[in-house]
Symmetry: D2
Subunit: 356 residues, 4 copies
């Protein structure tokens, strides 16, 4: 797998910069004869789209996807699916400040250290705008796994967690935070408003649940479903932590507390009395819901001046003006869901190759 | 990269079951002309070796490594390095119980669901014994990155965290827990003794710090240093969570709190006033120490009977007798360090390929 | 490496069908700070472009390349380079005949057997039109290896070989056949004219020489320079044979005849008295010119009716009307050169990763 | 795929030097529940084994294979299969000559140029001894494709071709040349005897036919069955050319001559009136026999002194004494068959992953 390619048998390659003419994904390895049109992809891009309410960046992109290859008469043909999204709102702003000084917490300095050159306009390739391509690819992946239902939501924002006893998946689309707890959503509104007004930013935790994954997906030892999910999620912009099942909390349990007892199930598959494992044992799915949690740091784009250096190594200060998400975790939610779909679809296909 | 292969340009493939004749690793892509002998590898295997004190499994394996290829007159030749460890303590115990019933929390059921067959002796391929091969491979990787100093230690055991104000790396080898806080080590002794006596088990969190990593390692977008580390760590047996830098805590900070301000440094490289990012920005190293934290669940091998099913789908109960680690996180510590070395060495070589 | 991706550290992925809206390549792993604009790529596409004289298909495509990502202010940034070529001459012809019946020798039946669906318009993904994307990618690869001079030419057409004693590389661009022997070019003119008039087709052999490749590129055992070249060339449409150096003729020599004696060279590198090996020994370049020969079959698109079956399995006959190359080997010549550049550039970068 | 790894979903990694303690292969991705024991592998190693008659090297190796992992109670488990062959006849000869001077035509100089170090004993990693590991891996691959019958034979030796009108596969095992034409075998006996006595060497062409491959294996564009076969074959020691179907001869045919007309077949699959294409169209199998031809150069190990240089760049001469194959193509025959099996098994599994 390459630098800008992800996956094993279902592989996608993304390309494009924040302020280039377009960005896109090439999805390779998708089985043939799956009905696919732009209409299958667009709703997922719309969910991620910026500028939809006051809680996300006011950059306005239509994010209209075009399918350039890989389908014929509305069906996939088994050939690579090229998806393109043109950039429309490349506001000609003044980038002279970030051209010269490194924004702490951003990839600016690291890119320059690595490549000796960087497209500083809007963060270039390191911009979260690249995740639009993942969401498009993820929409294709979902069609490969119709048996799986993926739900992603913010479960904690600025340190304020949802009440798990009142989780209602129907609430997720009823508020601007992908929040399954309507009371928490109310509280977060205030929180994010305040951060936005202060030019500050907040972190968040996104949880993703995949129901309907059969037992047997995932491949030991180095293609574990859990390891592939970890790579997929940790590769999302601003992510600093990943948990499967109970995650770090499992490290605080005893073996007795952490057990997921099994019983004979009606369908022939076993039933489990708990899901501490998050649906994965030994890197292979168990038939329980696959549960993953992802920590998004607060974006470094804040109005408070921070000490930094210029490209020439001089001391200076920088404050990041412009249109930014006060909490990148919110718009990261559809990206988490897309990566879950991509990893699961990959492992569904991989599993077939391994069957006797 | 394959199911049992890890890495991009420095790749290692492991093989072997817990109770087979041997296990091993083939390390491919190692540069030539590096001095290498068994003596460079053995100490790391010794650190991981079971049966060294009463806090780990009493299974006794010599874990003597043999280099079967890839060196000539004490130097690497650029050809694949085959490392083999023979299994010596395959006690002929009675496996009839776990042959028939699935141990909840273990990979037993998942392997059977996937493959329709499993080597149940000692867990077969899903046994943590496989990690000996990673530790051997990791020892080779360390020789590729002499500029990097890797330190791994248990920072929390059974929910009891170390006091970060008294961390002393010299303590790590002075106690059986790889604990850098001598007071915590004392407390843990009691904790683990109790768990062992009760046939219970405890989780742990392992922290790993890599000092000396220059800025520029890591490759956006899908070969981020952070993503590769996440895959590496989540692929270790019993791991359920991975954090880079502040990890999940970062999700509770504001942008101001999470900033890592930069200043001109004396060496020409910038200095940072904080390291919330854990040495990685945009997936690329920044020159700060790379910091990773890994959550180990308590092992499912406990004496308390747990509800489960037989391979035929009948209800039963199982208790796991035999020689087990009461806290697998302890012996996981050298494995975490090995995976850190393997990922960093891989990215050092990868970085060269990308230079203009 | 994936189905539609080629390469190890310099990887390119192509997408697109003959009659879709566009086709393209994403080139990943290109080092940063290399000057790159459309003007560096277009001449190579122009050399491959159809419709330039009466000896190639009369389909007219502008084949204008657009760079959609990966450069900033005229330089590569190390991020993926997305190249797109829009299809402009998708003549709305009647495809009903090839929609129903399989053209023997084409991929029609094989695609249907594999995928159960095929884009029959112009051959869809199996069309040689896809090679335009390779030529574009190859132009980028050439910039990575400025030390190497690649020359490709037709050395045999319809069984009529060039006279090797009069080879003149300056002649290659002076005739429509990429022929380095002006007398042969004259003869071929007649040959191809006749085939074209009869609706027949001819095979050809293309030779490619890369001068300036230093000793040491190529990686044993399964990434041999020769093996990667063989894969690259055999993957070109209509190719049925590949030779390195003396190729099949070497099988008719004795060891004495086939020897490439070495002498001390002035530059410190050895000099060779012969190059039967084609510049590769043990899969690694020796510093001599890398020489490769590629056999193109005659295209199956001929006017003579051939027995075949319909998609429903009924017997029928088919004759392929429309605009076709009477000798696909001619326009295959720039494709061979492009693949040589891509393999060499990949191995140059790979070689760096392996250095101690 | 890595330097010493081959394959896409069925991957094998080989390791080992000619004069090291052992060599081996790790086969990864093999489906579970396939009966496998050493007895399934040994006959193929025996066929390749040196020292069986006067026409091959007199080096005597038992080449006994051990399965170290991946099976349980006689069946594959889906985990990596580690195969090891110990080196037993590492005659302690004097290597001082080849330690100092490069043998022209061998990999000596190229390895030194690449790695700055080489194991000169018996050619080290570049020795054809490595192919024993491939033959072992190939034996496993054959079990994955029981529907396919692979036959490999020498079809030309020292420029003397078999008479295709008398081909009799039953003859192949009746002579020391894997020759399907008993008259040719007689002639070759004399030829090889003479070469052996003169310390000379001869080239050969090996043909391999795979019957029973269903239509649909192979993946466009860069994982074509033909391209993967080309890489597999060109990567064998001493190979300089690969053809599929008519190969270079196809370049001398017209489209009419090269056509493979199709007719409705009795089984539902079409029947073909010819097989110029060698069973592959557009990189995908057509259901006809897959036919491949491989050119082996004469080995460079000859008694006639050849000009060369020392490692210090001084002019000298070298003659290669010792136990060598007068015609490496003979013992290359089982290797060609093994690589055919490995590529086909890989594509069988790959094909499954791509199914809708």
């Amino acid at each position: 797998m390459s630098w800008n390619t992800f996956g094993r048998v279902l592989r996608f390659t993304t390309w494009g910069e924040s302020h280039g003419p377009a960005l896109g994904a090439v999805v390779d390895g998708c089985p043939s004869q799956i009905a696919l049109s732009e209409a299958d992809i667009q709703p997922f891009l719309d969910a991620r789209k910026p500028g939809q309410n006051r809680f996300t960046t006011q950059r306005r992109e239509e994010d209209l996807v075009k399918i350039l290859s890989g389908t014929f008469e509305g069906q996939t043909t088994g050939t690579p699916i090229s998806l393109m999204i043109e950039n429309t709102d490349q506001r000609s702003k003044d980038y002279s400040e970030i051209a010269k000084a490194y924004r702490p917490g951003h990839a600016d300095y690291a890119y320059d250290a690595k490549y000796g050159i960087r497209d500083y306009r809007g963060g270039g390739r390191s911009s979260a705008r690249e995740t639009a391509a993942r969401v498009a690819a993820g929409a294709v992946a979902r069609l490969i796994i119709p048996e799986v239902k993926i739900t992603a939501y913010v479960c904690e924002l600025g340190g304020d967690a949802i009440d798990r006893s009142v989780i209602d998946f129907d609430q997720i689309d009823q508020n601007p935070f992908f929040c399954p707890d309507s009371w928490a959503a109310k509280r977060w509104e205030e929180k994010v408003d305040e951060a936005r007004k202060n030019g500050s930013s907040l972190g968040a935790v996104v949880e993703c649940v995949a129901e309907g994954v059969p037992a047997g997906w995932g491949a030991p030892i180095y293609a574990k479903l859990s390891a592939d999910l970890a790579a997929a999620m940790m590769g999302i912009n601003a992510v600093k932590g990943v948990e499967i099942g109970d995650g770090f909390d499992a490290a605080r349990l005893t073996g007795e507390q952490n057990a997921d007892p099994m019983r004979p199930g009606e369908s022939g598959s076993p039933e489990f009395d708990a899901n501490h494992a998050g649906g994965i044992a030994g890197g292979i799915s168990t038939g329980q819901p696959v549960v993953c949690r992802v920590a998004f740091k607060p974006t470094s784009s804040i109005l408070t001046p921070v000490d930094t250096i210029t490209a020439d190594g001089e001391a200076t200060q920088i404050r990041t003006k412009g249109r930014h998400d006060p909490c990148v975790g919110i718009r990261g939610t559809p990206v988490v869901a897309a990566m879950m779909a991509l990893v699961l679809a990959d492992h569904k296909l991989l599993h077939r190759a391994q069957q006797g």
